[in-house]
Amino acid sequence: MSMVAEAPLKNAVPTDQELIDFVVREARLIDQQRFDEWLDMYADDAFYWMPLEWNQTDPRLTCSLMYEDKLLLSIRVERLKGARTFSQKPKSRCHHVLQTPQVDSRDAAANSYVTWTPIHYVETRLDEQALYAAWVTHHLSVENGKLRIKLKRVDLINCDAAFGNIQLFM
């Protein structure tokens, strides 16, 4: 599948390969800093969740590193473009290595598909480079013939460690 543009689904129900390609494409768009296209992969009611605790179940009454709706994600994307975003002068860059996403569940009747993807993520700026390891769970559904992210959950292997700035997206 071409990574340049989003390919429409061939049928109403996505194949496993289409789910996998979608997850891989999301990481690629982040790495290539195509953030507007990246945001389009999210449903309007989507959340990006990065828990703070190991095996965290509650995003509301337990703190998270990130638990952001599309408004907050779009604010991040706008901020990255800002002329006075000094923490991005110079800009950060990032790099994803994905294990092949596994399709954990598929329920066409409920329009709900879940994938699980172990990743290594490198974020770098100036002379600093940090390596993170995480498991990413995508909850996907089909909207108007296209896959969309309803929930992206990023479980860092060291979620409770003290970190410096993490400025981009895993």
Binding site: T62, M66, S74, I75, E78, T85, S87, F163, I166
Partner: protein, 437 residues
């Protein structure tokens, strides 16, 4: 080369009325002296007693760079113990928190200690007979920190015998803790939600100063809060303002807002911003909360408690609290150029969950290593830590709205953009650095 050790005059010379020498931020020697003198001479926040509710519960932390344990003793009181075995120095616990039962047991040679630190047993005790062991340092067990105060759940400790008593050290500043605690209908807080830990490559005092720096938000946070304001402007008219926008947008308030909010100065480096109003003043009401407060305190008192909108209260040396959103940040020194920032949150016991939800949202939007507001600040601290190595100017300026008669004044409210709190913190810094030197 030592310049400052045992030299109180040299330390005093680092702090002038309107400027401080860069060595207070960059010198490893000054940092070591802070750990040897200033932190042990001060009342330092250790933890909250809700972290150790049951006998044997412990929580490991640091005072300055010294490892200590907060522990609930069998008699129900909380103790603060140095976290090292008196035998070989092994740290007794490595997990941050847990329950040790009736006694601590060192994992190296099985020496055991009661939860007040006293020595309980040593294997093969006979080997110490007739060796004068009773007179050894080791015989006293895990050394307790002798000066501990549990103030309405907030536990402070002072390592040195010298210095000031708890009440004298904090004085009227405890009113900010009172207000935060009184916001619970039953006057009780509980640590909740987890702690955010954020590593900063800068001196710990830069963070403390920043808590009362009201001339930076509209500048340094233009990238984050300014973007929030811009994006929110595009929302269709009539859209309900989300909690996240209520939280971040006020960082873009104009200079006049911060000038008029006021700053209060107390003794010993303590003080708070937001005398009259603050960025927390205009949050939406949480359904059912005011009714609970009124039932508990009566309407007049409930209004008085909730009418306080103190912004940041700094407690010298290294914490700040936000009463209106039940948050405490501790700036833990690691090296002259390295600081661990811990941001703790509290649940108001018997208040609606929505308050904790807002507190946690505030914490992750502002204080997380993934926070865009945090990114703005850390960039400035790290640039300062690097810039201070320039020999073009060895001094940092803190003279905004300076007045020659301010030293010695206490409990005064001044213009909200004054750098008086920073001057005040450095007066306290000199006092507790050189005390007993």
């Amino acid at each position: 080369m030592t310049r400052y050790a045992g030299n109180a005059a040299a330390i005093r010379s680092l702090v002038r009325d309107q400027e401080v020498h860069r060595d207070v931020y960059v010198s490893e020697e000054v940092f070591q002296l802070e750990m040897e003198h200033m932190f042990p001479n001060s009342w330092v926040y250790v933890g909250h007693d809700s972290q150790v509710p049951n006998a044997g519960d412990y929580y490991g932390t640091t005072i300055g760079t010294q490892p200590v344990l907060l522990v609930r003793h069998t008699d129900g009181t909380v103790k603060v113990l140095h976290n090292r075995c008196p035998h070989k120095g092994t740290r007794i616990t490595s997990e941050t928190c847990g329950n040790t039962g009736k006694f601590f047991r060192c994992p190296y040679h099985a020496w055991s200690f009661k939860t007040d630190g006293s020595l309980l047993a040593i294997p093969l005790k006979k080997g110490y007979e007739n060796t004068g062991f009773e007179q050894s340092h080791a015989a006293t067990g895990m050394a307790p920190v002798r000066h501990v105060k549990n103030y309405r759940g907030f536990v402070f400790a002072k390592i040195n015998d010298g210095g000031l008593g708890f009440e004298e050290f904090f004085g009227e500043s405890l009113s900010s803790f009172d207000n935060m605690i009184d916001r619970s209908p039953v006057g009780q807080l509980k640590v909740a939600g987890g702690v955010l830990r954020y590593m900063h490559n800068c001196n710990w005092k830069m963070l403390v100063e920043n808590q009362t720096d009201t001339c930076h938000p509209m500048v340094a946070h233009e990238s984050s809060a300014g973007t929030v304001v811009d994006v929110w402007k595009k929302a269709p008219p009539g859209t309900k303002k989300p909690m996240a926008v209520e939280i971040i947008a006020p960082f873009m308030s104009p200079y006049e807002f911060f000038e008029n909010m006021g700053i209060r100065i107390w003794d010993n480096g303590h003080g708070h911003t937001g005398v009259h109003h603050s960025i927390h003043s205009d949050y939406s009401a949480i359904p059912g909360y005011f009714e609970k407060m009124t039932a508990a305190y009566g309407e007049e008192r409930a209004k008085a408690i909730l009418g306080e909108n103190r912004h940041n209260t700094v407690y010298f040396p290294n914490i700040m609290i936000k009463g209106p959103i039940q948050l405490l940040r501790q700036f833990k020194p690691i090296a002259a150029n390295k600081t661990l920032v811990e941001s703790w949150t509290f649940q108001l016991v018997d208040a609606p969950d929505m308050l904790l939800e807002r507190t946690l949202m505030y914490n992750r939007l502002i204080n997380a290593p993934t926070s865009i507001v945090g990114h703005d600040d850390l960039e400035m601290y790290e640039r300062a830590q690097e810039g201070l190595h320039s020999n073009g100017n060895e001094w940092v300026n803190i003279q905004r709205l300076y007045s020659p008669d301010e030293a010695g004044q206490t409990n005064v409210a001044v213009n909200g953009t004054s750098e008086w709190p920073m001057r005040h913190q450095f007066r306290a810094w000199t006092k507790f650095m050189t005390m007993g030197m």
